[in-house]
């Protein structure tokens, strides 16, 4: 299951993050690394991007990026 699929207000744990290019590194630098707890707060008006809560702060990312984050429900 990937981060873009979990419903709002459900907490999950990051299992792995896939990235190949230099840009993808930013997601992990922002704290989205395996083991981190993440909760989807909401989606923007047109369903994208999404707002998540991780490490006690809020992060916005597009669904395309969220797809690269595999999560396990808690």
């Amino acid at each position: 299951m990937t981060l873009d699929m979990i419903p709002r207000d459900v907490t999950a744990r990051v299992a792995s993050v896939e990235w190949t290019d230099a840009q993808g590194i930013r997601l992990m630098e922002m704290g989205v690394v395996p083991g981190a707890r993440v909760r989807v707060v909401k989606s923007a008006p047109l369903g994208d991007p999404i707002q998540v809560c991780i490490r006690n702060y809020h992060l916005a990312l597009r669904r395309a990026e969220a797809k690269s984050v595999t999560v396990v429900l808690e």
Partner: protein, 656 residues
């Protein structure tokens, strides 16, 4: 505030190095970590914007009195960054300065890393990277009061011990911990070498990089869990409750529209009084100089060139101040990130990034601050595309031109009986600018600036009540940049334009001497020279003179037309300019100006890049002449074609 723990710090006294010369100290940290508040608290009003030549670096430099007996230290406020592996221009600037790789900025003797106590783990990512470079470092733990309030019990001594660098808790607003910070910085001061670490992860293979990154986070988590007793985390806090409305699928966009309307209303209505005041003062000043100084070239230069030029720049200051005030308030409160979040999906349809929304919005007041605000956009191609379309947003300099044309040819008419035609036309100009920007951005992103859509990963910082001191500082900084950059260019160009219209001299005592002078001047000749080219747009040579002068700054056309039509060039005489335009005849007796000519002129002004200051700023921000030249050329072609279609098409349809 608890003291700094001495055990982890080598207990040396104030470094002798610090006694000899004033130290250079850099402040670095994540965006929204409280960097600027700390900088303002440490330096007070003793700060200025430093412009380092060659690179597009713009950082604030202030004076910090570390101890009364020592020379003041130079404190540099760097742009925020999340990691030494920079992804945006802002981050690159900060990283290069921190690692001593930017020749223009002195290598810091000590770096103060600002770490947000409420967001320790992520903030320590950058901090640990910097600690590994081996440079002298002191951590300033900001938002310490907020952390305590949300029951995060941070054991500062343990944290300091684990990290191997001194950690000083501070509360910038209440000036707590600042003395401790000064003492700690003095102890750590030693000359710092240029650092070879380019980017800690840059050369590694993806797999290696990923494992290094995960390792670093694991280390930080261990340190933090040892040093912090945390109460239950993850409860919806105030920010999340505010966001229930502000980023709500329906309410969110509605609030955004209301906020934007409020900003525009303020810019256009509140600014008009101070604007006309400035205008009156400078007109009076010009008249005063004219009557009290002997007539001649130098008086003309002073009144028509310098005073008119300075007045022209200052007249925009109220609008720009108001715009900057709102932008600063919205940024400081955390709303701007929400606006980008709400707009990202729409912006992406064009191929742009949500972060491009703020610069484009700013460009409605003036493209210069808008273009400067594109630095936060990570992808260079996205950034250039945003810069290239920013001038299509109808800026405040176009308004006087729109109002003049509307006053002359469209006033007193209504659409559907009650909406004034003028208001509809102005709205149409704004909408058309936006549509053109969307189309051009789409074309650029699919041709010259083709690149995969960059990831949108953006922090939504917690809402905070804007600190008025910080907002005031930001306002002052941005206005001084505007005055320096735009002001000098506009002043220089207005003097040049004055010279073009004033030479060669025609000596005449006839009542229409001024108008004869312009006709025979270099500018008048140039107007006649381009007349064949602009005739298909419905413009005669007099409008041509106005067009040429407006390439310095759009609003210049009004003063130029006033001179050409020999009506005083102060704004009180705008009505007489309107009359002169209505009465102007061609040689065959037909009127020069018709509503169609007016419309054609408005569209030309909407689309052409008639602004030297914008060109200058694009040159600086893209670091090449290629983009500004490209921008001026394609916008000119676009403006010409659109005006041609308007005028010729209108005539074919039977309008005049």
């Amino acid at each position: 505030m608890s003291a700094v723990l001495e055990s982890s710090v080598v207990g040396d006294p104030t470094s002798p190095y610090a006694m000899v010369k004033g130290l250079t100290i850099a402040i670095a940290g994540n965006p929204n970590a409280g960097k600027t508040s700390l900088f303002n608290a440490l330096t007070g009003l003793r700060q200025k914007v430093a412009n380092y030549p060659g690179v597009t670096v713009e950082s604030k430099v202030g004076q910090w009195t570390l101890a009364p007996e020592l020379p003041v230290a130079k404190l540099i406020d760097l742009p925020g960054l999340y990691s030494l592996d920079a992804t945006s221009l802002d981050e690159e600037i900060a990283r290069d300065a921190l690692l001593g790789r930017n020749v223009a900025i002195p290598t810091p003797d000590v770096t103060v890393i600002v770490v947000d106590a409420t967001n320790l783990v992520r903030n320590l990512y950058l901090a640990t990277q910097l600690i590994e470079t081996g440079q002298p470092i002191v951590i300033a733990l900001t938002m310490f009061d907020l952390a305590q309030r949300s029951q995060l019990n941070i054991k500062v001594d343990k944290l300091s011990e684990a990290l191997g660098v001194p950690v000083v808790p501070v509360v910038a607003k209440q000036r707590k911990g600042l003395d401790d910070l000064a003492k700690t910085v003095l102890r750590k001061a030693r000359p710092s070498a240029i650092c070879d670490v380019v980017s800690p992860l840059a050369d590694a293979q993806p797999a290696t990089r990923q494992s290094k990154l995960i390792q670093r986070y694991a280390t930080i988590e261990r340190i933090v869990s040892d040093a912090v007793d945390t109460a239950d985390e993850g409860k919806p806090n105030i920010s999340e409750r505010i966001d229930r409305f502000v980023t709500h699928p329906f309410l969110g966009p509605l609030i955004l529209v209301v906020v934007m309307l409020l900003v525009f209303q303020a810019i256009f209505s509140w600014a008009s009084l101070p604007m006309s005041l400035i205008d009156t003062v400078f007109t009076g000043l010009g008249q005063f100089a004219k009557t009290h100084l002997p007539a001649g070239v130098f008086t003309d230069l002073l009144t028509d060139g310098i005073i008119a030029g300075v007045g022209g720049v200052l007249a925009f200051l109220p609008q720009i101040l108001l715009l900057f005030l709102f932008i600063s308030l919205l940024e400081d409160s955390g709303y701007m990130a929400r606006a980008a979040f709400l707009m990202d999906r729409l912006m992406r349809a064009v191929g742009l990034h949500g972060k491009a929304f703020v610069p484009l919005l700013s460009s409605f007041a003036c493209a210069i601050p808008g273009i400067m605000a594109t630095r936060t956009i990570e992808n260079p191609k996205d950034r250039v595309a945003t810069i290239m379309v920013a001038p299509f947003m109808s800026c405040s300099a176009r308004l006087p031109v729109y109002t003049l044309v509307i006053a002359a040819f469209f006033s007193g008419r209504a659409v559907l009986g009650f909406i004034s035609l003028g208001a509809v036309l102005i709205l149409a100009m704004y909408v058309m600018g936006i549509i053109v920007a969307i189309v051009i951005a789409w074309i650029l992103k699919h041709t010259l600036l083709k690149a995969p859509s960059p990831p949108f990963v953006m922090e939504l910082p917690p809402y905070r009540l804007p600190d008025l001191g910080n907002v005031g500082h930001a306002l002052f900084t941005r206005c001084s940049i505007f005055l320096k950059r735009a002001g000098t260019v506009i002043l220089a160009i207005s003097i040049l334009l004055w010279a073009l219209a004033a030479f060669p001299r025609t000596s005449s005592n006839a009542p229409d001497a001024a108008s004869v002078q312009v006709q025979n001047s270099f500018a008048g000749r140039a107007g006649r020279f381009i007349e064949p080219a602009i005739k298909p747009l419905g413009f005669d040579w007099k409008i041509g003179v106005g067009l040429i002068s407006s390439f310095a700054a759009r609003e210049t056309i009004i003063s130029t037309l006033s001179i050409v039509y020999n009506v005083g060039d102060d704004s009180e005489n705008k009505t007489s300019l309107v009359d002169a335009m209505r009465n102007a005849k061609r040689t065959d007796g037909s009127p020069v100006w018709t509503p169609l000519v007016g419309l054609s002129l408005m569209i030309f002004f909407l689309l052409a890049c008639q602004c030297m200051s914008t060109v200058a700023i694009v040159r600086r921000e893209t670091n090449s002449w290629r983009w500004p030249i490209f921008m001026v050329s394609y916008m000119l072609v676009l403006a010409y074609v659109a005006s041609l279609i308007t005028y010729q098409g209108g005539r074919l349809l039977g309008f005049s």
